[in-house]
């Protein structure tokens, strides 16, 4: 039941996003989105994904939203001289014919105050807003991630 209404919602949002982007030259491709499963009572969760821009012009992301959370922001983890801090990224340029990776230890979506308990296997809807008024909506699975740390990239 939950999956079906989520699918309908994604389809609706995707339709709305596509409709508004009818005049856009190229759109961002979002792949491998995932939400890190967090301890049951967590109020903040992280989402990661890959963004590809196949077009000839840079595309600027200027917002994130999700119907499953009260608010969402794009952040970058910065570790400077051993101290970790989070920078709120208000605008992110995705270069022409290029891409950006959101992954642990780097850029990530910060999702505040989930509207329901989320566990591995659940699905979350994420919308990436572009500065020209268009948006891209994707479904992201909640995943229990095992980290060994050996494959981390650092930007």
């Amino acid at each position: 039941m939950k999956t079906r209404s989520a699918s309908i919602l994604v389809a609706l949002l995707a339709f709305l996003c596509l409709y508004s982007s009818a005049h856009a030259a190229a759109t961002l491709e979002i792949t491998h989105p995932w939400i890190r499963e967090a301890p049951p009572s967590s109020r903040v969760l992280a989402a990661y994904l890959s963004i590809n821009n196949p077009g000839d012009a840079a595309i600027t992301i200027n917002g994130i939203s999700s119907p499953d959370f009260e608010s969402a922001e794009l952040h970058r983890t910065v570790i400077n001289e051993g101290v970790a801090s989070m920078q709120h990224v208000k605008q992110l340029d995705v270069p022409a014919n290029g891409g950006v990776m959101l992954e642990p230890g780097g850029l990530h979506l910060m999702l505040f105050n989930p509207k329901r308990m989320l566990a591995a296997g659940d699905t979350v809807t994420l919308t990436i807003h572009v500065i020209n008024g268009t948006c891209i909506t994707v479904s992201a699975p909640v995943v229990r991630q095992v980290d060994d740390g050996h494959s981390q990239h650092h930007h």
Binding site: S41, S42, G149
Partner: protein, 215 residues
């Protein structure tokens, strides 16, 4: 010289040569074993302090509401990580890596504990910590205290933490914090530090070398 005498002389030379080669080989082999036994601490990625500093007395509380003080750090190795439960990226990732470290070191007979110390005692009560650390590993310990107790403990260990005001919702503030993992030895001394980027393989390998050198 007659042929039989020549043959026995050649045989003697051959025997001596073979014995010489065997002796040299035996010498090299036993020397390499002796050299291997000496742990090469220069290969560590962790920083192991030349003089491990004794920690002064402190008083915190664990996720079971039990006192957590300097006695808790004696008689066992402790990996300490400082973070907060409202941290979505660095802390879950690090605790997941430390869980991998715990699994990798399972074969060791050493008593090892993993401790998550909150730098956000206002929101991280023992009850909150119990739910949080238990998710990553049932044996992990969560520790909190008053602002003052946490400030004193972090200061002693050179751990930095600072609240960062959230832009809209004031209850969603973030905390900047040191992302290193600290190693306390069974004498309760600050023994080594693992700096980010943290990898379970590196941490485990380094710990085995540190343990070997400690014995």
């Amino acid at each position: 010289m007659s042929t039989p005498e020549k043959q026995s002389k050649t045989a003697r030379i051959l025997i001596v040569l073979v014995l010489a080669v065997l002796a040299t080989a035996a010498g090299i082999w036993s020397a390499s074993i002796i050299l291997d036994r000496r742990v090469n601490l220069e290969e560590l990625e962790a920083i192991r302090f030349p003089v491990a500093r004794q920690l002064p007395p402190f008083e915190l509380v664990d996720h079971n509401n039990q006192v957590f003080n300097e006695d808790a750090l004696r008689g066992r190795w402790s990996f300490l990580f400082f973070g907060y439960t409202h941290c979505p990226d660095v802390c879950p990732t690090t605790l997941s890596v430390l869980n991998s470290v715990a699994h990798r070191l399972q074969d060791l007979e050493a008593d090892i504990r993993f401790v998550f110390v909150s730098v956000d005692p206002e929101r991280d009560t023992p009850e909150v910590l119990a739910r949080y650390v238990g998710y990553f590993n049932g044996d992990f310990i969560g520790v909190t205290g008053t602002e003052q107790q946490i400030a004193q403990f972090t200061r002693e260990l050179g751990i930095m933490h600072m609240r960062v005001a959230a832009e809209e919702n004031t209850s969603d503030y973030l905390v900047d914090h040191s992302a290193s993992v600290l190693l306390i030895d069974p004498d309760g001394r600050y023994h080594a530090v693992f700096s980010p980027p943290l990898a379970a393989g590196k941490i485990s390998d380094d710990f085995r070398k540190i343990l070997e050198a400690y014995r």
